[in-house]
Symmetry: C2
Amino acid sequence: MDLEEHTKIPQATAKRLPLYYRFLNNLHGQGKMRVSSKELSEAVKVDSATIRRDFSYFGALGKKGYGYNVEYLLSFFRKTLDQDETTKVALIGVGNLGTAFLNYNFTKNNNTKIEIAFDASRERVGSEVGGVRVEHIDDMEEKMGDLAVAILTVPASEAQGIADRLVDAGVSAILNFTPARITVPSHVRVHHIDLAIELQALVYFLKHYPLDEEEEE
Amino acid sequence: MDLEEHTKIPQATAKRLPLYYRFLNNLHGQGKMRVSSKELSEAVKVDSATIRRDFSYFGALGKKGYGYNVEYLLSFFRKTLDQDETTKVALIGVGNLGTAFLNYNFTKNNNTKIEIAFDASRERVGSEVGGVRVEHIDDMEEKMGDLAVAILTVPASEAQGIADRLVDAGVSAILNFTPARITVPSHVRVHHIDLAIELQALVYFLKHYPLDEEEEE
DNA sequence: GGCTAGACGTTAAAGATTTCACAAACTCAG
DNA sequence: CTGAGTTTGTGAAATCTTTAACGTCTAGCC
Ligand SMILES: NC(=O)c1ccc[n+]([C@@H]2O[C@H](COP(=O)([O-])OP(=O)(O)OC[C@H]3O[C@@H](n4cnc5c(N)ncnc54)[C@H](O)[C@@H]3O)[C@@H](O)[C@H]2O)c1
Ligand SMILES: NC(=O)c1ccc[n+]([C@@H]2O[C@H](COP(=O)([O-])OP(=O)(O)OC[C@H]3O[C@@H](n4cnc5c(N)ncnc54)[C@H](O)[C@@H]3O)[C@@H](O)[C@H]2O)c1
């Protein structure tokens, strides 16, 4: 019943929910009591109609002529986004990117935490990075426990092999930062974040999709 | 004329072009002469009809009953993606993420290169990271030259201030890794990459959008 | 030279997402 | 208590994107 409701929410909306949640948190921290879709729109750079539409998938959360009650909205999204339970995450590949993530560790206002990290390099294994213990990749299956989510920051050539092992170890979601497009069974969810491509795409848009003329402010 | 043609290409297609290019490069490196949309589809995980459609925006690049000539396609995309000229990029904020990017530097098969980096911390300034000199942020305007693209990896609280200065310095595209949604004039293009949100969204999908039942391979 | 299998390019349909625009419902000042 | 002013929630339209389906053309074989 609960799940079915959620299943109807468009993916595009679902991707914006954490953004809304974060900003509502800020507002709440500032002691703000109410907020309109217009205000929110300016802050998160999403059209106000889109915001109202997004919220409406969850029912009537606001009041006409008033806007949204920050506290109410926040507590609603806290439930919706499962902010009360922390999802434990594994990170594979403690190199440049992996180290950056471990130091950051998404803990600020998040419900995710990197619990354990793995690497193949003997020099890294046994150390702690950002408070997270680095284990040897050979011990992955043994030490990973029942973590459901993994961040993949190994060299591209290793990606598929490690992904296969992750799947066998019971992982059901992978955030893949390698350029390799990995193949997994259909019950596993993979999101690719391909930073090199993001940069190239930005440059392409810059050159081929002119925006407004330059105008001095 | 040339520009107008490109302007008609859907954004979704444009974002996939660097991906195609990278894979074609791999194929070419392996000495492969021809490739079909089906093969490409399996490698980059994009529906083959979508690939054919994407390519068709540029005209008839393939041959029926044969597929695409790798060399031809590659040289076509090289032109289209301006792979021959290197776009110089500045990076602001040499912290965890910034350091990772500098060490990587997108140089592998890319047309982008981080030329210069800036930071506020006296200990970092003057050093080199990944072969890139780190300058003090106070000297940014003076030392940036005419770079058009910047990567922003400063703390969120600094993001808007630095963005304003980047715009004044003539930057027209910003890749923003901070959680702050920055405001810029309409002639400046900003892409947000919000890693914390990507992770949260993945977890949300995992919990609320069940995929196929688990099945043993 | 003719035939078969394969693969493109494209039309059209379906699906997803965004945006417009406005009636209804509310707030708040006076 | 009233009325002016806000702001929601949502049909309907517009836009963008993906996918299916297939006619057409080519390669390669016999
Ligand atoms: N650093 C960046 O800015 C950047 C940008 C875009 C893409 N990427 C991609 O992200 C990935 C990681 O990049 P990076 O710069 O951190 O690379 P890196 O070489 O610094 O780190 C890779 C780490 O993985 C470890 N490793 C190697 N094989 C392993 C294995 N089989 N099991 C476990 N660990 C293993 C290595 O010891 C190393 O610590 C790469 O695929 C890269 O292409 C990185
Ligand atoms: N590291 C991650 O994994 C991660 C993940 C998600 C988001 N982010 C975001 O990316 C940004 C950078 O993250 P980080 O972990 O690298 O942070 P960091 O604190 O390690 O690095 C920030 C760097 O910016 C420099 N800096 C501060 N003020 C500056 C200024 N005014 N001008 C120039 N440089 C200045 C600091 O000296 C520091 O070196 C942050 O906004 C963070 O929220 C990081």
